[in-house]
């Protein structure tokens, strides 16, 4: 058992006929993801040819889920339309099967569009949103697995470490660190670097805590907001599995947006020091250098009798 996305999950791609959508749908299939089709309004009835064969295109998410019984969707729609694409997907999963996972990769969605979209998703309890502005979610399998996003599949392997992160490439760095000590991953989730997003750290930690396959967790945060502090506090009371952490942005100047829309220290709040301190107070083993995450994880696994 991994979390939220199983190895054989049936997956749709919203925006499959676009340049980004088609490219990444191809990479997903190459990795072994069970792609069942895509959605582009106005192009229903066409097919998209990828390495694994021909995939049907639907006009709407309701139509696509009704036809394919999909479990999840990945959104590669441009920013002006992505907020609505999330709402369309949430409505479709909710009405057709009562549940589903929406992964939104798109970067640059207006914040107020996300306020609307997250409120819509929150009112449909069976529907989960991951992202936006994230690398996605991947559950490595024995041969391939389910890759819902833009991460390089080949660096992953099935295993027992759960990874959750706000960043893209820093997540890949964490994956490589687990591999350097011969550990694979149960599920890796990029929750995204936007100020308003879907699934947060606490939901990920909670799911990893309840997942029998996951035996330890790597959590990567960054400056801005206080999601890391809240997650650390939650973990103190609720998480029994070892957690290893890193926070990016210790050298970031206040008041400057560091690439991600949410990565900004405002009013002196949301600094890396605050977050490291919260992690340490919660008994989370911290690496100050991401190249040491592997060794810190190894020490934590040994201390827990897992190595």
């Amino acid at each position: 058992m991994a979390i939220w996305i199983q190895e054989d999950a049936k997956v749709l791609v919203q925006g499959i006929t676009g340049k980004q959508g088609m490219f990444h749908a191809g990479k997903m299939v190459e990795y072994g993801t069970n792609l069942v089709g895509g959605v582009t309004p106005g192009k229903g009835g066409q097919t998209v040819e990828l390495e694994g064969g021909n995939y049907p295109v639907f006009n709407s998410m309701v139509g696509a889920i009704t036809e394919t019984d999909a479990d999840a969707t990945v959104i590669y729609v441009p920013p002006p339309f992505a907020g609505e694409a999330i709402i369309e997907a949430a409505n479709a999963f909710h009405t057709v099967k009562g549940e589903g996972v929406i992964v939104c990769i798109t970067e640059g969605i207006p914040t107020l569009d996300m306020v609307k979209a997250t409120a819509y998703v929150a009112n449909r309890p069976g529907v989960r949103l991951i992202g936006p502005n994230c690398p996605g979610i991947i559950t490595p399998g024995e041969n391939g697995g389910a890759k819902l996003g833009i991460m390089p599949g080949h660096i992953h392997a099935k295993g027992r470490i759960g990874i959750v992160s706000k960043s893209g490439t820093l997540t890949y760095e964490a994956v490589a660190q687990t591999m350097s000590i011969d550990e694979g991953q149960s599920t890796c989730i990029g929750i995204g670097g936007d100020p308003v997003n879907g699934t947060g750290f606490i939901e990920c930690l909670s799911a990893f805590q309840n997942d029998p396959q996951t035996e330890a967790i790597v959590m990567i945060g960054e400056i801005g907001g206080n999601a890391e502090q809240e997650a650390a506090e939650w973990a103190t009371a609720n998480c029994t599995k070892p957690i290893v952490g890193f926070v990016a942005g210790a050298t970031a100047p206040p008041g400057k947006r560091m690439g991600h829309a949410g990565a900004i220290i405002s009013g002196g709040k949301g600094t890396a020091e605050e977050k490291f301190a919260a992690f340490e107070a919660a008994g989370i083993a911290c690496a100050r250098d991401p190249s040491e995450l592997g060794q810190v994880l190894l020490a934590s696994l040994k201390a827990a009798g897992l190595r």
Partner: protein, 402 residues
């Protein structure tokens, strides 16, 4: 993206939020003409910069750095005072608690009519990350530093979160007004103003609107004496008019140019240039340089799909900074292939005749091809296998810390 107070006030006025009469000007003659045409005995002469704390800031001569005048917002009781204050403000540097030590050159002033004030309040609208909704914050302690109020008397700050499905409702406006001690005509005026301000916030894709102070006059009218407005840059595509409101002199020129080419760049004070893919990894690279005794010169994220040309642009932007003594390239190839990055690095090194030490750390997709290309180039490029090694190497190559 932030705009000036005078632009914010125009936006308020156009959307039915009460402000005082005021005129924007860029020279002393304009300020005097504005004074004459306002016909108000008392006017405020207000420096226009994108930083708070203007009233308590000081103006300095841009070259000699001599103190010219205390206070960036002055109340003038005569035509002579308008002349004196505006000539002291324009062309000088205003240093406030938010402006940085250097301060900001003042090119614009706003001449505003005076009014009688019965009480000053604080009001702000912003996006609350934790509650994923718009938050309205108000306090009876207007005109003060709100962070100070939040720390010492948090009970004086009143908050309401807006459900995006229902919008701002009547009872919420009433509750907030009553929490500020308003009643009768002033409550009615506040109720109307808050509705207009919320509509303005939503329809203009604001990231923040702060009014400090919001005042109640002796006639029980609620008027915005301040207007600090910031827009959400992600929404720029549906607001073509923002281009006219942008004051480029308030932005770091090089950061603006980087953005135009799809790069995200922030200048820092150190001497090790960084070129990284991904915002989180770019921050982590800076942190690790510092951890090993160096000082990063910049944050630079080349994005997920950079090509040879973009890598070259990134190098030239890093090298514009005369403090840069060495460069660390840190790429974790996902979609981006290491062989393509390696070719980009070589092309840039040659084209720009790079003469500072260069350390390149590659990982991920096609890493072996990438490393081979760099090794065979015959150029003086130092390879590194992980981030720690890369940081240690570049710090050693430039002869230790900054």
């Amino acid at each position: 993206m932030n705009i000036h107070e005078y632009q914010g006030k125009a936006l308020f006025k156009a959307n039915g939020v009460s402000v005082l009469e005021g005129i924007h000007c860029t020279d002393v003659a304009g300020a005097l003409a504005a004074y004459d045409s306002l016909g108000s005995k008392v006017v405020a002469v207000k420096s226009q910069i994108h930083a708070g704390g203007r009233g308590k800031g000081n103006l300095y001569h841009p070259e000699t750095r001599e103190l010219v005048m205390e206070g960036g917002v002055k109340i003038a009781f005569s035509r002579e005072e308008v002349e004196e204050y505006s000539s002291n403000i324009l062309g000088n540097m205003l240093v406030t608690i938010q402006s940085g030590e250097e301060g900001k050159l003042v090119n614009n002033i706003y001449i505003e009519s005076g009014c009688d004030i019965a009480h000053e309040y604080y009001l702000a609208l912003l996006v609350d990350r934790e509650n994923k909704s718009v938050l309205i914050m108000a306090s009876t302690e207007g005109g003060m530093d709100i962070e100070h109020v939040a720390e010492h008397t948090p009970e004086k700050i009143h908050k309401i979160n807006i459900d995006p499905n229902s919008g701002l409702l009547g009872f919420q406006k009433r509750d907030l007004g009553m929490a500020l001690g308003l009643s009768g005509a002033s409550l009615k005026s506040f109720f109307k103003m808050l509705g207009k301000l919320y509509d303005l916030f939503i329809s203009n894709d604001c990231a923040m609107v702060e009014v400090n102070p919001l005042v109640r006059t002796n006639a029980d009218e609620i008027i915005a004496l301040d207007a600090k407005v910031g827009f959400d840059e992600n929404a720029e595509f549906r607001h073509r008019d923002w281009d006219d409101l942008r004051d480029l002199s308030e932005e770091e020129d090089v950061e603006t140019r980087a953005k135009e080419t799809g790069l995200s760049y922030v200048k820092l004070d150190g001497n090790i240039g960084c070129l990284v893919n991904g915002a989180g990894l770019a921050m982590a690279t800076m942190d690790v340089i510092k951890l090993y005794g160096g000082e990063p010169a910049n944050f630079l994220d080349v994005g997920g799909g950079a090509d040879e040309e973009q890598v070259k642009t990134a190098f030239s932007i890093i090298l514009e900074d005369p403090n840069v003594k060495g460069i660390l390239v840190n790429i974790f190839g996902g979609i981006m292939r290491c062989d393509i990055i390696a070719r980009g690095v070589i092309a840039a090194t040659k084209a720009l005749s790079l003469d500072v030490p260069l350390v390149v750390r590659l990982a991920g997709t096609n890493v072996d091809e990438g490393k081979a290309i760099l090794a065979e180039s015959g150029l003086n490029i130092h390879p590194a296998d992980d981030l720690a090694e890369g940081a240690q190497k570049i710090v050693a190559l430039i002869g230790g810390g900054a």
